[in-house]
């Protein structure tokens, strides 16, 4: 009985805040916010937003970088799987890439910026001996007006996510048999995979891909670091309005947030049309009987792409680690003039407490999310329901509606309820973002579980609850712990919800890191970014090791997870 309420609870947590938040932004967008003297409903602020210098360009940058990010990362991931799945290279690279999901967006962006800038590490490594540069060249790489640096940063960050999602969809796709069939009919490795396995994989990862489109069209932190500045992507422009001392610009910001919704919506529609076109193209190739056996170049390109993207993320983390112990580090020195731990020592006292707070909030919200999601999927299993795409789409609403479009309204809601600044309010705010990811990580392994084990238990007279606790739970421990680690990582990364809902009462390692980032000292930033990345990585490692230790005498259970 209780179990049946779980889906309702989940959707309330997910959609309630988003709807309330959107309601809170529609009013000021239409000019109604009496606190700031807005008492008439008007479309004036939409004009103000749309007529602002560079608005069209801002919107265009958001639109095209969002779509290109999703397309490039998805194509690379899919070609990599198609070309290399089951090989040694695949196992190595996939296990190196997937944990990079835990590195926070801002850390990836800052690391990349310092790698590729004209004064960055890559140029320093070859200067001045190879390039002759005593001063960095005046090349426009980072913050380029067209948004290519932003695109690169988003692609290397989204690849690990899409790889994880695709890997978890594979077991439900009957890949080995389908590929054997395709290969025996003379199809090339890549094309065989694309034509037999991909359709069923894509059906499962479609919503995560939509989440990537939505995220990449409305991203703020990465865009501030790598994106164009004049004009910036739309979400950054909205933030500038939102933060402008002239409070009447809050109306413009609200109208801009509605327009952001439209840009993200437009990108999603474009993507959806693209899906149709790709499907039609694939069908026409199939009906022509092309088998495309020569795909060596494609395979190598995908391997190179995934490898380079992993290297850039890892290189960025290494560079941040170096900065955190650097003395004076001038161009064109490849290494700092001295290494020192004084930045770490200096901040040791400031790091402990926020780290503890972040861990407490992360553990609590991940645990609640895992319990709720387990309840929901178990409920669906027992009642024989397969969630439709529409219901699933509801789950994704918090990931698809740009944060910047509903957060201000959400804060109003929390303030009215008088629960701001409390631990639980922050946990609930995190749950809005944590639950969808936990669901993503858990739903597919759950569906893929061999139900015959449970049938046997039931036929031996065990209750459904007993079967769940003694069969399902132990056998799925690894998948459950991985979902938990996912949720934990998402919670650790939350900045605006933590700051605004937490009212400054609950500083976490992330709110501290972002505040210090405003000061721009890479040394401090490096230290905090490392801790911020280390926490989720610890969780992922624990998720892999706990089952391995608990089940050290049970070989089949040790490896029972999707992300090996």
């Amino acid at each position: 009985m209780l179990l049946r309420l779980v889906p309702v609870v989940i959707l309330t947590i997910l959609i309630g805040p988003v709807l309330a938040g959107l309601a809170g932004i529609v009013a000021p967008a239409l000019g109604y916010l009496p606190v700031l003297g807005g008492e008439q409903v008007t479309l004036h602020w939409f004009d103000q937003a749309a007529m602002a210098p560079g608005f069209a360009r801002s919107a265009w940058i958001s639109y095209w970088t969002g779509l290109a990010t999703s397309a490039i990362s998805l194509v690379l991931v899919v070609l990599f799987l198609a070309g290399w799945w089951g090989t040694r290279w695949f196992a190595r690279l996939a296990s190196a890439t997937a944990p990079l999901f835990a590195v926070p967006h801002a850390a990836v962006a800052i690391g990349l910026a310092f790698l590729i800038a004209p004064s960055g590490w890559l140029v320093r490594l070859v200067s001045p001996w190879a390039t002759g540069f005593a001063q960095p060249p005046d090349w426009l790489i980072v913050n380029d007006p067209a948004g290519f640096a932003l695109l690169a940063g988003l692609v290397i960050k989204e690849i690990p996510f899409l790889l994880l999602m695709t890997l978890s969809a594979l077991p439900q796709s009957d890949a080995p048999r389908r590929i054997r069939a395709a290969r025996s009919l003379g199809y090339g490795r890549v094309w065989g995979w694309l034509s037999t396995v991909f359709p069923s994989v894509y059906a499962q990862i479609r919503l995560p891909v939509y989440a990537v489109v939505a995220y990449a069209t409305s991203v703020v932190d990465v865009a501030i670091i790598l994106g164009p500045t004049a004009p910036p992507p739309l979400a950054v422009q909205i933030l500038r309005w939102q933060y402008d001392p002239d409070l009447t610009l809050r109306f413009t910001a609200a109208a801009g947030a509605m327009l952001q919704l439209a840009v993200t919506g437009g990108a999603l529609v474009t993507w959806w049309l693209g899906e149709r076109a790709v499907a039609a193209l694939g069908r026409s190739i199939l009906t022509r009987g092309w088998r495309l056996p020569r795909d060596r170049a494609l395979r190598l390109a995908s391997l190179g792409g995934i490898g380079a993207s992993a290297l850039l993320v890892i290189g960025g983390v290494v560079v941040l680690a170096l900065w955190s112990v650097a003395g004076l580090w001038q161009f064109p020195d490849a290494l700092p003039d001295m290494l020192t731990f004084k930045h770490w020592m200096r901040h040791a006292g400031m790091i402990g407490h926020p780290t503890l707070t972040a861990v407490q909030i992360g553990l609590t919200s991940a645990a609640i999310a895992v319990l709720l999601v387990l309840g929901a999927v178990e409920n669906a299993y027992r009642r024989g329901i397969t969630p439709t795409q529409r219901v699933l789409a509801l789950l994704y609403i918090p990931l698809i509606v740009p944060q910047i479009s509903f957060l201000f309204g959400l804060i109003l809601l929390v303030l009215r309820a008088g629960i701001d600044g409390t631990f639980w309010a922050v946990v609930v705010a995190h749950l809005v973002f944590v639950i969808p990811y936990v669901y993503l990580a858990l739903a597919d392994p759950y569906a893929a579980f061999d139900g015959r084990y449970l049938s046997v238990a039931r036929s031996l007279g065990k209750s459904p609850a007993r079967a769940f606790f003694t069969i399902r739970l132990p056998m799925m421990l690894r998948a459950i712990l991985t979902a938990f680690a996912f949720g934990f990582a998402i919670s650790i990364a939350q900045y605006l919800p933590t700051l605004m809902i937490g009212a400054g009462r609950l500083p976490t390692v992330t709110t501290e890191a972002v505040a210090l980032a405003a000061g721009g000292d890479r040394r401090v930033l490096g230290a905090f970014a490392l801790i911020q990345s280390a926490l989720p990585i610890v969780a992922f490692v624990a998720a892999a090791w706990i089952p391995a230790i608990l089940y050290r005498r049970r070989r089949a259970l040790r490896g029972a997870g999707a992300w090996t």
Binding site: L11, G16, P136, L394, L412, A503, V514
Partner: protein
């Protein structure tokens, strides 16, 4: 499933949205009765919302926390922000939600346009509390008009002075042996060293300040800037400014296709040797960055010979602050000679004091006399005169015109 959600969630959401705390008024603490104020403040918890980007400043605020805990039994929490607007947003949201007391922000580090907005929207304690703080008598308002007119907006005791700022340039003398002292010299340097100079894009604070600084240096009669922009022929007055910036543009860093974002970005660019000249509001910034090994020891500060725009920064208390008495006690402590001298110490922070040193007791004065100046810090004489901020009505048209000319994909 969906219908079940809608029927359950909507009433809950609406109920929470509609429920509003009823305002009641607490007794206003009165700085005139200081001992009663101290009694009231004891045991209160002050949430001080202040920019948290600089470890040195964070450390200083932590020291203030220790001191007010020991002296007055006040708990001080520094809510570290990446932008003061986050605190402003929060107060706006609280007012919108009808929370007229028990607000979550007790003290904000603020100045300029943020203060003007908070004041205009009635988001601050209305009465003139700051002028009645005991240590306010020591504040040097005669020498620093910026302490009475924050970006020309009358302070009216709604914020309490904390420190001073002056637009200061700095450069690595290893790369720039001759530091430019005039706008003409700066333009010649830029032309001779393409790609080695930039400024922050307005409306960033220091970007807008750079526009105003250049404007001051190019017009015949700066008096017009102290009046409302409506009284002036904006296009005619600002024409030399745009001509000067257009002259710089082709030789700017990245050919003027992108600009720096803020003071922080300028410093990072200088540290990476991407540019040769940067600017800041803190006259001690170059020295402290050298000491922190962020900048090479050859960096030196300089100013332009016709004076520099200066301003002040303050702390203020929102209308619905929970710990008003304690917030006022903290504001007063920030003005104490002890706290001001420590703040002015470059080894700690290096932020110029707002106190009139001749009004201090010899012992307090000694706190300042023993302070050392770093190698890259200019003396008060070298810093030269402070230019008065233009009337705030100029800011918006300046920023808009700059955006029209230099943004929106227009490139040479």
């Amino acid at each position: 499933m969906r219908r079940a959600f809608v029927s359950l969630a909507m009433p809950v959401t609406l109920a929470i949205l509609v429920a509003t705390a009823q305002p009641t008024l607490a007794a206003e603490p009165d700085p005139a009765d200081w001992s009663a104020m101290l009694d009231q403040a004891r045991g209160e918890h002050v949430f001080f919302h202040a920019w948290g980007g600089a470890p040195a400043i964070n450390d200083y605020i932590a020291w203030v926390g220790d001191e007010v805990a020991a002296r007055y039994g006040i708990t001080l929490t520094h809510v570290r922000l990446s932008d003061t607007a986050e605190a402003v947003s929060r107060v706006v949201a609280e007012k919108a939600a009808g929370r007229t007391e028990n607000g979550s922000v007790d003290l904000i580090w603020v100045n300029g346009e943020n203060f003007a907005s908070l004041k205009r929207q009635g988001l601050l304690i209305a009465d003139n509390w700051a002028d009645r703080l005991p240590n306010h008598a020591l504040v040097d308002t005669e020498a620093n008009p910026a302490l009475k007119f924050d970006f020309t907006v009358p302070v009216d005791g709604q914020e309490s002075p904390w420190g001073l700022a002056q637009l200061t340039f700095y450069a690595d003398t290893a790369r720039v042996p001759e530091l430019p002292a005039t706008l003409e010299a700066l333009a010649e340097f830029v032309a001779a060293n393409p790609g080695r100079f930039t400024y922050a894009a307005p409306p960033n604070f220091i970007g807008t300040t750079f526009l105003k600084q250049v404007l001051y240096g190019l017009i015949d009669d700066p008096e017009i800037l102290t009046r409302n922009v409506a009284e002036a022929d904006f296009d005619a007055v600002t024409a030399p400014l745009w001509a000067y910036l257009e002259r710089l543009r082709p030789d700017l860093w990245r050919s003027g296709r992108v600009y720096a974002t803020d003071t922080t970005h300028l410093k990072t660019l200088l540290a990476d040797a991407e540019i040769d000249i940067a600017m800041t509001f803190n006259p001690a910034e170059a020295s402290s960055s050298i000491r922190m090994a962020e900048l090479p020891p050859t960096v030196r500060s300089f100013v332009l010979d016709y004076g520099s725009l200066g301003n002040a920064h303050f702390v203020t208390i929102p209308f619905n602050a929970s710990a008003r008495a304690a917030a006022m006690v903290v504001a007063d402590f920030l003005l104490s000679p002890l706290a001001q001298a420590r703040k002015a110490d470059e080894m700690i922070w290096g932020d110029p004091t707002v106190l009139a040193l001749d009004r201090l007791t010899p012992a307090d004065r000694a706190l300042f006399d023993t302070l050392e100046r770093g190698p890259a810090t200019l003396s008060t004489v070298e810093l030269g005169p402070t230019l008065r901020e233009p009337d705030p009505s100029w800011i918006e048209p300046l920023e808009a015109e700059w955006a029209r000319r230099f943004l929106a994909g227009t490139s040479p």
